[in-house]
């Protein structure tokens, strides 16, 4: 059963009855698409961000650090990647997380697993993937993202490149004792409500613009228009998608709805996945901020390992699904 059937009916009613746009026209298709997707995404956004915030209130980064500092290498990489999903990640938080983890003795590779997973699989991306692509592609994205985070961390850990971290980072050691705060359920729910509202305020405009442009493309651009340039047979489509994705991080919320429409117009799935992963996981501002705690060489290694993982995922899915 389609949970969003009532929304679908409402969108149709609004488009064709209230606005009296003739059905089966380009304009009708575009307006209907825009209303339906916008309502659907905002419902999902409210529910999923709220649930993730409540879970997060039990697992603040300080507690995650405590869990990770006592785990062996591989378990650590897996756990760090999974825990990375529920942690909010903004470019600002990269430094405190990195310092806090490394100085408490979390291995460098495990720290990187976390740094990769945290921005790549976040709750807003999750909502948009689920809403625009459906649960199958959302799951593919999450599983590939987790694997990239786990393996990038393991590879970086194996390289033994602790010397590429700025000296002051390792000079300071702290214990991973946490400042534990016991919150009442009421506070958790209130905080989650505030946080959800903050997120919606922050991203709504990007999402509406993204869906708006998407709706226009959906209605006006012929299907398979892009197939010629960005189909699975074009070897350069995946690397191109990755390169274009790197500077777009701050607009991730608007880009996913846009990209979902492009797949409709003939862009191959692997290329789409690679593009979205590059947008979320490889961010230029984050690299610039990380320069304060690590040498450029380490940032390049980090970006290359993750970038290769994304390329591999892109080619893999283009090859499998075509």
């Amino acid at each position: 059963m389609n949970l969003f059937y009532p929304v679908e009916l409402f969108a149709r009613w609004l488009t064709y009855s209230v606005f009296s746009i003739t059905p089966k026209t380009y304009l009708g298709e575009a307006v209907n698409f825009f209303i339906y997707d916008t309502i659907k995404i905002f419902i999902l956004l409210a529910i999923i961000v709220f649930v993730v915030s409540v879970i997060r209130s039990f697992l603040p980064p300080e507690k995650i650090r405590f869990i990770l500092s006592s785990k062996s290498k591989y378990t650590g990489n897996v756990l760090a990647s999974i825990l990375g999903i529920i942690t909010p990640f903004c470019t600002c938080s990269a430094i405190p997380l990195f310092l806090g983890f490394v100085q408490a003795g979390v291995p460098l590779g495990v720290t990187f697993s976390f740094l990769v997973a945290s921005p790549m699989i976040n709750e807003v991306a999750l909502v948009l993937l689920l809403g625009m692509f459906g649960w199958k592609i959302a799951s593919i994205y999450i599983v590939s993202g987790l694997l990239i985070a786990i393996f990038s961390g393991i590879i970086i850990g194996k390289m033994k490149i602790e010397s590429l971290v700025e000296t002051f980072v390792l000079a300071n050691k702290i214990n991973s004792q946490t400042v534990s705060v016991n919150l009442a359920w009421r506070e958790r729910l209130l905080d989650a409500k505030d946080y959800t509202w903050d997120i919606i305020k922050k991203v709504w405009l990007y999402i509406v613009i993204g869906i708006g442009i998407g709706a226009w493309i959906h209605g006006y651009i012929p299907t398979d228009f892009l197939a010629h340039y960005l189909s699975a047979n074009n070897w350069y489509a995946v690397p191109l998608a990755v390169v274009v994705g790197i500077p777009l991080y701050s607009n991730a919320a608007g880009i996913i709805p846009l990209v979902s429409v492009l797949t409709e117009k003939g862009v191959a799935l692997g290329t789409t996945l690679a593009f979205m992963m590059a947008v979320t996981a490889l961010s230029l501002p984050e690299f610039m901020i990380l320069r304060r705690v690590m040498k450029i060489k380490l940032i390049i290694i980090f970006a290359s390992v993750v970038g290769l993982g994304i390329l591999f995922t892109g080619y893999l899915f283009n090859g499998l699904i075509g």
Binding site: P60, P61, E62, R65, C90, T91, C92, S93, I95, P96, L97, L99, G100, F101, Q103, F168, N172, I174, Q177, T178, V179, D194, D198
Partner: protein, 79 residues
């Protein structure tokens, strides 16, 4: 008493600093609020989220909030 907002210079950290100054003023306290741009100090406090509101070197609020009433409440509780 010492009230500090610790951050990395990011926009949300500056915002918390401004709101905290306003909260202190509205509470009628005669205390200067300081902005400290020192992440190492935040890490030493055992916190990994920025910004941090600290009273007498004790972190009382971590992460950003725009809720001035909440800020007033933690200040009063930790006077």
């Amino acid at each position: 008493m010492k009230i500090e907002v610790l951050g990395s210079g990011c926009p949300t950290c500056k915002m918390l600093f401004e709101i905290t100054k306003k909260a202190v003023k509205e509470l009628g306290l005669n205390v200067e609020v300081d902005y400290v741009n020192d992440i190492q100090k935040i890490i030493q406090m055992g916190v990994m989220q920025i910004p941090v509101l600290a009273i007498n070197d004790k972190p009382v609020l971590t992460g950003f909030t725009s809720d001035i009433e909440k800020i007033k409440k933690v200040i009063q509780e930790n006077l």
